[in-house]
């Protein structure tokens, strides 16, 4: 996925003369995950540059660059270090177009490597997507595969509005060559059915899509046909895909890494309740991180939804 993201940035910088890439250590180093590797050499220090160590500064200055007609792609080095930028994002980035009656748009992409399962230290494994999804005026996108990462990042950079782009760290080194063949622009706001099934729907995004697919095949071994939906974007949310699948299966399990309480999974449950209540044969269950700080890496595997936990939820709704 790192290569796909790097390629998406390269293509955007090449095709869009207004595109900029900025952040901490994204220049010479190429980013701590190498997502921006080689970009400064290729496009120069004016279009690809390191900033001082200040996330609010990165977000606020990027907004200013956008007002000046640039298309900044800013990186927050890790999920846990994106919080100092929240005020600029909530108070300005998300509100600027609205407040200016459409005269001052903010075509800004903020990339955030997120979530856990990579054995990292504290503050390096957080899943803050719900903060952004709850903030009106932001689009929130997260890919689950290299090809989606490429196409969704291209679409996000081309989008006229601010996009918070969450990159699932634990998928950074995933290949899935097969898919890399696919191509074409990808509209933001369309989910993807990655596996068809008739007995139960799993709704997931980011790294939990692969995890859900594993659970789905395990379930299949026991004759339970599970449909797996990759949301791809949390805002806008693909309401039709969601309702369509659950109306078909009558059962659903939502999976994410973030803590349960007020996590995005609750929104999915509420939408299913509103749009598919009559078809529900069982309660929609959530399999999520727990309502505790992200745990030390030596025991994180008990926190991140496991195949077993997803399977258990599938069984509960199927045997309800």
């Amino acid at each position: 996925m790192v290569k796909a993201l790097n390629e998406a940035l390269r293509q955007s910088l090449a095709e869009d003369p207004r595109a900029l890439v900025l952040g901490e250590d994204i220049g010479k180093l190429g980013g701590v995950f190498r997502v921006t590797e080689g970009l400064q050499d290729e496009f120069g220090t004016e279009r690809v540059f390191d900033t001082p160590l200040a996330e609010a500064g990165i977000a606020g200055v990027s907004l200013g660059l956008a007002l000046a007609g640039w298309h900044p792609v800013a990186e927050m080095q890790f999920d846990g270090f994106s919080y100092p930028a929240l005020d600029q994002i909530i108070s300005h980035v998300a509100k600027y177009r609205f407040r200016s009656r459409g005269r001052q748009a903010v075509p800004l992409v903020i990339r955030i490597p997120y979530a856990g399962g990579v054995g990292a230290a504290e503050h390096h494994s957080e899943s803050p997507e719900a903060y952004y999804a709850h903030t009106s005026g932001l689009k929130v996108v997260t890919p689950s595969s290299p090809i989606d990462a490429y196409r969704l990042l291209r679409a996000s950079i081309a989008d006229p509005d601010p996009v918070i782009f969450f990159e699932p760290k634990s998928r950074y080194w995933s290949k899935e060559e097969g898919e890399l063949a696919a191509d074409g622009a990808l509209p933001i706001g369309k989910a993807r059915i990655v596996r068809e099934g008739s007995d139960c729907t799993i709704v997931a995004y980011g790294a939990m899509v692969a995890r859900s697919l594993q659970a789905a095949s395990r379930a299949a071994e026991r004759g339970v046909e599970t449909e797996v939906i990759d949301l791809r974007s949390l805002v806008p949310l693909d309401l039709d895909a969601l309702a369509g699948s659950v109306r078909k299966t009558g059962r659903a399990v939502v999976v994410h890494e973030a803590p349960m309480t007020a996590g995005f999974g609750a929104e999915i449950v509420a939408r299913i309740m509103e749009d598919a209540f009559d078809y529900l044969e069982a309660p929609v269950l959530r399999v999520t991180g727990y309502d505790i700080p992200y745990p030390p890496a030596t025991i994180e595997s008990h926190y991140v939804p496991s195949v077993e936990r997803v399977l258990a939820a599938i069984e509960r709704v199927v045997n309800y």
Binding site: A59, Q88, F98
Partner: protein, 368 residues
């Protein structure tokens, strides 16, 4: 802990000043490269601002505005600095810069729509005037001015951005991060701090223990303290700073020492926290009076001129008043028009709901 506060301010150096203080004898002042016509224009813009500001306060008292933060006393700091810029320069205001808006020819009815709660950014076109939207989160707009300046520099456009903020804003992290970015990227920014001595009820002595102009030392660019009630001094230091910015990419922090004669806003009762004498002392240094007496003594303007300006200001304020009063709320459709460039399905649903309920309410439908 308040007892300990503020000794730091004693180090403060006397500000740069051009105009004689009240009581001082009239004297020749060094030419600052302004034609007599421009010298008079400076007065005119301050007079219009003063009158419009008083009118806005009156409008709020009469319930025509939701709230309003008076600028009275800060006309020289705002007009002198805004007038020193080129048209191509950008201004990023906070919420108290009606005077700068006047200089930029922003329609004050459209400006006051922010305070009438008609629309958040006001309804004027920021791009047309290169005068940004009203920004309320203290210090937050500083970063936008820095980013815009970086962007212009990348385009090879020689312009400066000037950002207004107050003494209280210097305590925010955004001020620090903005100044540091500007220095590191040599961004053409003029940081204009109107030190009006108060952040609502907190005196500058409880806000920081160092003189504000000195904070520039932390970033490696010049810091200047100027008499903020001296329109010519403010004009001069701002002009120099803007040139440094455009030509050499050197940012400047200007501390314009002035005073908030009015309450923080029409919702505030300043008598709760500051002595009336302090206000009286500063009234004696009124920026319009000081400039007017110099214009007179130096023969640049006469009574007739001041008369005509008074008349113009009156009409200006009256036109603003009638415009404000005549304006109604925005149509509900607009609430969903600019959240995004497009209208995603979930917002379409919500827009339809809002309009349905509004219609039913209008038709007075009783449910059930």
């Amino acid at each position: 802990m308040d007892e300990d506060l503020g000794e730091g301010m004693n180090e403060a150096e006397g500000p740069f000043r051009v105009l004689p203080l009240a009581g001082e004898p009239p004297r020749e002042i060094p030419s600052i490269g302004l034609k007599e016509k421009e010298l008079r224009e400076l007065y005119r813009l301050m007079a219009l601002s003063r009158r419009a500001d008083l009118e806005a306060t009156a409008l709020q008292r009469q319930g025509e505005l939701a709230v309003y933060p008076p600028l009275i006393g800060q006309e020289a700091a705002q007009v002198g600095s805004a007038f020193a810029l080129e048209e191509s320069d950008w201004i990023f205001p906070s919420y108290r810069e009606l005077g700068a808006a006047v200089v930029r020819g922003v329609d004050l009815v459209e400006y006051l729509h922010f305070y009438r709660a008609t629309w958040h950014g006001g309804t004027y076109d920021a791009n047309a005037h290169r005068f940004g939207m009203v920004s309320v989160p203290v210090g937050s707009q500083i970063l936008h001015a820095v980013g815009y300046a970086m962007g212009a520099k990348l385009d090879g456009i020689a312009l400066a951005t000037l950002v207004y903020f107050g003494d209280g804003a210097t305590s925010e992290g955004d001020f620090h991060e903005g100044c540091n970015f500007a220095a590191v990227f040599r961004a053409p920014v003029v940081f204009l701090c109107q030190n009006n001595q108060w952040a609502i009820s907190v005196p500058v002595s409880a806000q920081t223990a160092a003189p504000i102009w000195k904070k520039a030392e932390a970033y490696g660019f010049p810091g200047v303290r100027v008499d903020g009630n001296d329109v010519l001094a403010v004009y001069q230091v701002t002009r120099e700073a803007a040139i440094r910015a455009r030509e050499d990419g050197i940012p400047t922090l200007i501390e314009a020492v002035t005073y908030r004669i009015g309450p923080h806003s029409t919702a505030d009762d300043a008598s709760r926290y500051r002595p009336g004498e302090e206000v009286e002392q500063w009234k004696a240094m009124d920026p319009l009076d000081r400039y007017r007496s110099w214009l007179t003594s130096s023969g640049v303007a006469d009574e007739d001129y001041f008369q005509s300006v008074e008349g113009e200001a009156k009409d200006f304020a009256a036109k603003m008043r009638s415009g404000v009063i005549a304006s109604g709320p925005r149509p509900l459709e607009e609430l969903f028009e600019w959240v995004f460039d497009d209208l995603p399905p979930h917002l379409a649903r919500q827009r339809d709901e809002v309009l349905r309920f509004a219609r039913e309410a209008a038709e007075g439908i009783e449910r059930g």
